[in-house]
Symmetry: D2
Subunit: 305 residues, 4 copies
Amino acid sequence: MNYQEVLEEIKEEIKPHLKKGEVANYIPALQKVKKNDFAMSIIDVDLNEYHIGSHKKPFSIQSISKVFTFALALQNYSKELYKRVGHEPSGDPFNSLVQLEYENGVPRNPFINAGAIVTTDSLISLYKENTFDYILHFIQDATNDHSITYNKEVFKSELKHGHRNLALINMMKSFKNIKNFTDSVMQTYFKQCSIDMSTTQLAKSMLFLANHGVNPITNEQLINESKAKRINSLMLTCGHYDASGDFAYRVGLPGKSGVGGGIVAIVPKKMAICVYSPRLNKFGNSYAGTKALELFTDKTGLSIF
Amino acid sequence: MNYQEVLEEIKEEIKPHLKKGEVANYIPALQKVKKNDFAMSIIDVDLNEYHIGSHKKPFSIQSISKVFTFALALQNYSKELYKRVGHEPSGDPFNSLVQLEYENGVPRNPFINAGAIVTTDSLISLYKENTFDYILHFIQDATNDHSITYNKEVFKSELKHGHRNLALINMMKSFKNIKNFTDSVMQTYFKQCSIDMSTTQLAKSMLFLANHGVNPITNEQLINESKAKRINSLMLTCGHYDASGDFAYRVGLPGKSGVGGGIVAIVPKKMAICVYSPRLNKFGNSYAGTKALELFTDKTGLSIF
Amino acid sequence: MNYQEVLEEIKEEIKPHLKKGEVANYIPALQKVKKNDFAMSIIDVDLNEYHIGSHKKPFSIQSISKVFTFALALQNYSKELYKRVGHEPSGDPFNSLVQLEYENGVPRNPFINAGAIVTTDSLISLYKENTFDYILHFIQDATNDHSITYNKEVFKSELKHGHRNLALINMMKSFKNIKNFTDSVMQTYFKQCSIDMSTTQLAKSMLFLANHGVNPITNEQLINESKAKRINSLMLTCGHYDASGDFAYRVGLPGKSGVGGGIVAIVPKKMAICVYSPRLNKFGNSYAGTKALELFTDKTGLSIF
Amino acid sequence: MNYQEVLEEIKEEIKPHLKKGEVANYIPALQKVKKNDFAMSIIDVDLNEYHIGSHKKPFSIQSISKVFTFALALQNYSKELYKRVGHEPSGDPFNSLVQLEYENGVPRNPFINAGAIVTTDSLISLYKENTFDYILHFIQDATNDHSITYNKEVFKSELKHGHRNLALINMMKSFKNIKNFTDSVMQTYFKQCSIDMSTTQLAKSMLFLANHGVNPITNEQLINESKAKRINSLMLTCGHYDASGDFAYRVGLPGKSGVGGGIVAIVPKKMAICVYSPRLNKFGNSYAGTKALELFTDKTGLSIF
């Protein structure tokens, strides 16, 4: 199949959708983007690349970082981690405290904020003050690109407006599900959310999930095959907050979105895809990005179902 | 791969798990089963069959019936139905009223009780007093076996102990999301839950979901390909009540369980599988059945991820 | 103090409030009222009476009936009843299923619908098919007026639109907190809600709660003093659904409202008051009625605080 | 009535209850108490005093401090404050985040932790860095005793174990219902909770609530009569967390408890009562203290109902 052609078609068909939805407004730094921007990258496990739009322009990866930290935590833990964070869809918005309170401080899954914070806490227990460096290197290695870094302005903005996340971490601390100082966990968490990457970089960085846990660029086994499958499974059931079922229903691929406007999706054994468009739907997922991925699976039949 | 051998291995390895969990006790009629029973059937889209255990013995399909009624409703409706029942995981036990109350009587998905009751109600609007016959014929046609029927004793037991479901339907009726008489909807709903089928019959009956919507026995298109994919997606994200994420994580296949002890699973484009063992885990899914399917994907690598 | 003068003042000051709020619309029969009507009756324990407005015109007492059934149940039960219905404010709207689900079918208090339904069920266990007659006689005796009866049209309308209450009772039945047939409980419950009384009759009927449990008209001890105090306490903490705290805060008297537009209030050891005005605020309590009682305690200083 | 005799009787009858319940364990500093201790003080508006037990021994007033800060806030605010904190019972445990999340960061009432934190925040907007001094002076003036101060060890222990309260304040900050720095609000809040007072001091300090807002020792009007009544009303409906209805039902007086083991109660127009016993029931209220107050109203008939 000619994927470049597919991308060109999507670019045309997506146009009427680029002005729908709103750019994330909970931190000011995220609003400084070209609001109708669009980019999409497909990279297959044989390293063929197909791109459209501003695919080299970095944007804030936000919650997509949760996939990397969970993979890094799974390298090191398994059962211990499962006691501290579940793998069920939450049935609630991404930052809900209700579920946490009813379930004694154990977040539903690692892709809601509370679960990602626990995951980062588990990394700090291992890597101490070097935790963010380990996270960044993991991403750089997965992408084979050591220029990737975080955006200091976004980071500061996150810190300043992070009260909801501070509520989450203190709630979990009261249930003894946070082992390190809350300040140091939040600093690391906000840094990982503030990393900037382009659709090209993100598609590359996720190839190991389409390739049995092996980075096809470097042939390094980042995690074992079974864990790679499980991350895909989690992305399918929990990757889009309270619209995860809808994404699975309409797109049919494991994926993870970020409020920066990015979405990555995996076609197991075949390819990684990244799409970017900063306006979000009411669930906090890229409006045009979701639509573009739906067009992609309609055109290619590459749904896992 | 030699699937018969795989089944023989599973039969050995499952033995220590057959005494774990408890048979459903909410209706007396369901307790009259051989508690440590086990059966498993694999049928592929070329109609090769592999079986182990009591695979010809009918058991109560219970919630597995929700797949059939939803498929039948999707034949007839699409957008109208989506307004009345969502496709998100519920994040709550299978019979929760909390979610219904907060979301104005619109159930999260068609595979929790409330959602299945709305689905049945939508069929009654079409087929009136013949609704149950249409449902039964749909199942008989999918299985190509017209001996399938419902169990009157189980049906009566359901009726007698159905207060929780009566609470659900009255709640939805108060939000005007039930269009027909509650009594006639509940009668039909309890009848569909009381249908008896064997693992052989169930595996056959689900082949259309592994085969683009086409029944490979009769070559009849039961629903279109896109809708078949969406049913698979729903089974993956919502097929096991509040353990759907765990099933996706550990088994990695679309599946639907019933409190009678059955689970069906789909390997898209390849096969349908049915496993039976009546003892349930705390989420209401077959304890040994879940374990058997996990062994199956471990041994065969047939996870969709 | 000249209470007649107080009533005349209230009548003047209440005028701008008589067009605020909306008449209950959940059953059509309740809408057939004079929407801006107003009546208020004060009767003290020495049987002095003060009235204003249409104080002899009967209206639907609705939830005010819950005070009578709870008093009748307390005549017969105490600890057994407390296991089946609590005495805490609910913190939720009057017909919430959420609380019931989290608290295993035990309603928070006897003045929310679920609690009143359990109370009526406890009476049916005693009085069988004569339960409604016993309830009606209790009210007639308390009022010393045997002309009081229920409104058949309202009753039928309740039955027809009672899905929410049917959800509640079936929910509680599933937790085994309803002992009799749900149909017979609901019939009795809806009949008691459909009783018609005037403000004069209601004020009289409640005098026993201001008078140590003794009806000052007949000198009959309806319940013992301790239980009378407890009913007053419950009216203060739970008598106005989700606005009970506000009523206590602003009026400072035990009271019970009904969606028919009536409110009764007790000044312990002194008097019973009843006010009527059918437009309701968003919590389901009479808009002008609440305001009139606030004016009353402001003018007389008769708050219990 | 001979109140000293009543106290002597209570002292005898309470003995079997002094070993029931558990001392608060959420902060270590609170555990260093004589576990079976008991004291009770009655002071009437004519300043007659009656005491029993260790009535001069200071203990940690904890949540009883919420009455003082709310009174101080009501001196300064009224409608503005009501927009930020309600006056309804919460129907949930004292530190629930669920309610806060559903109601957009507006706590149900000023006597649950979240509501008291908002109240303290409103004082900081007025008194800036001197807020705690103003609170302490208010209490010292009400008691006419300038030796009262806070316990530094308890304060530090609160700070160290205050994650749940940090979750609450950050949650409210995210809804913009906290106007000052969260750190400075929490410091002040924990200091006020750490104040030590004896039953004698506490009974004195609350006399203004039994006396139209006027301190009968100094004849100073601390708040106006209407506001004093409203504080009493709030204590009745919300003073004992999720057991407020039960306290109203069994004791029948406005009261406020603290996890240090103290309870104050008001007999409007007559007296203030304080009881102390550090073991708590499951709702966080003094076990023997609640029982002692129930005996008091049984013996004296001084319930407001």
